[in-house]
Symmetry: C2
Subunit: 167 residues, 2 copies
Amino acid sequence: MELQLVNERRRGPYAAKRLTEFAARCRRGGLAVTPQRLAIIEALLGSGEHPRADAIFAAVRMQHPHISLATVHRTLDTLCDIGEARKVTTLHDSARYDGNITPHHHVVCVKCRRIRDIEIPRLDRLLAGQSELGEFTVLGSSLEIHALCEDCGAKRAGANRTMKARR
Amino acid sequence: MELQLVNERRRGPYAAKRLTEFAARCRRGGLAVTPQRLAIIEALLGSGEHPRADAIFAAVRMQHPHISLATVHRTLDTLCDIGEARKVTTLHDSARYDGNITPHHHVVCVKCRRIRDIEIPRLDRLLAGQSELGEFTVLGSSLEIHALCEDCGAKRAGANRTMKARR
DNA sequence: TAACCAGATGATAGTAATTATCATCTAGGT
DNA sequence: ACCTAGATGATAATTACTATCATCTGGTTA
């Protein structure tokens, strides 16, 4: 299995491209193109750090001293909704524990957050063979499969808009 | 790639086995075997729901009306430390965002929480072919590789105890 | 088996990330 | 220029979790 750290140099051009398309994508998503939103997506695309909301807030504040932290949270969330960003920390708002300590992964229903264990021996085997990854020493891994469970209406999947996390 | 939902029927015997070994494992980990800890691991092993701390608290409270929620949080954390449980929601205490919306996965340094993007086209391809998983309809997935980065001393890896999350 | 003490627990206050609320403002269409 | 749905800013509220600390107890030792 080929695992490849994404080259940092690709970020500049990628960000530039995304930025030029941003206004159009906003309108396609039914969103107004506000200076705050532009500043936030720009800060996000300009960072390779997978920043938290407060880091984006700090960065954006330099150009927009009046911006509110709530706007940053809201906007990041909105960007994820329209597919312009993603949360690295998917689908979980509070800690969930698992008594099963044999190697396994998880399927999570994106709607009701139900979790089921899955075993993928081949993935485990493949990753076990990968002890180095650039400057990282691999310790373990965890695959989270996002899914819709039967109860949450996988059938009318197209109709289901992204659900909101409950806290 | 074989993906296999873990059979629920396996949980009973598995829990029984783990429970009989629990006292020994505690002592091996240098922990006192308290009734609270027994009740918590029992509740965790008895649940297939990947419960949150408050659910464990509610379950344990029936037998131990005086138990404190803080104890439940602490104990679950401790159980993870000695390898008797794991967090489904690994390594993240607050949301981290990513402007890269091309399909990719992440390596996370378990110590400093630095995140880098990785591409694993073969994994993506294989999962793309898997649209059903038992009662789940697959939407997407995200692999998180746990690692130590150079700065965090991958060299003396053995010496590094599990780090605590900072909030 | 009694005494001891490191570590565990319970009660509660504190923290921090995120969300809710709501008055005000503005993007973008008319 | 004007209107209005939706966006923002200010701030309060929520909630998951951690810190603190006095009290208690498992398990070792005398």
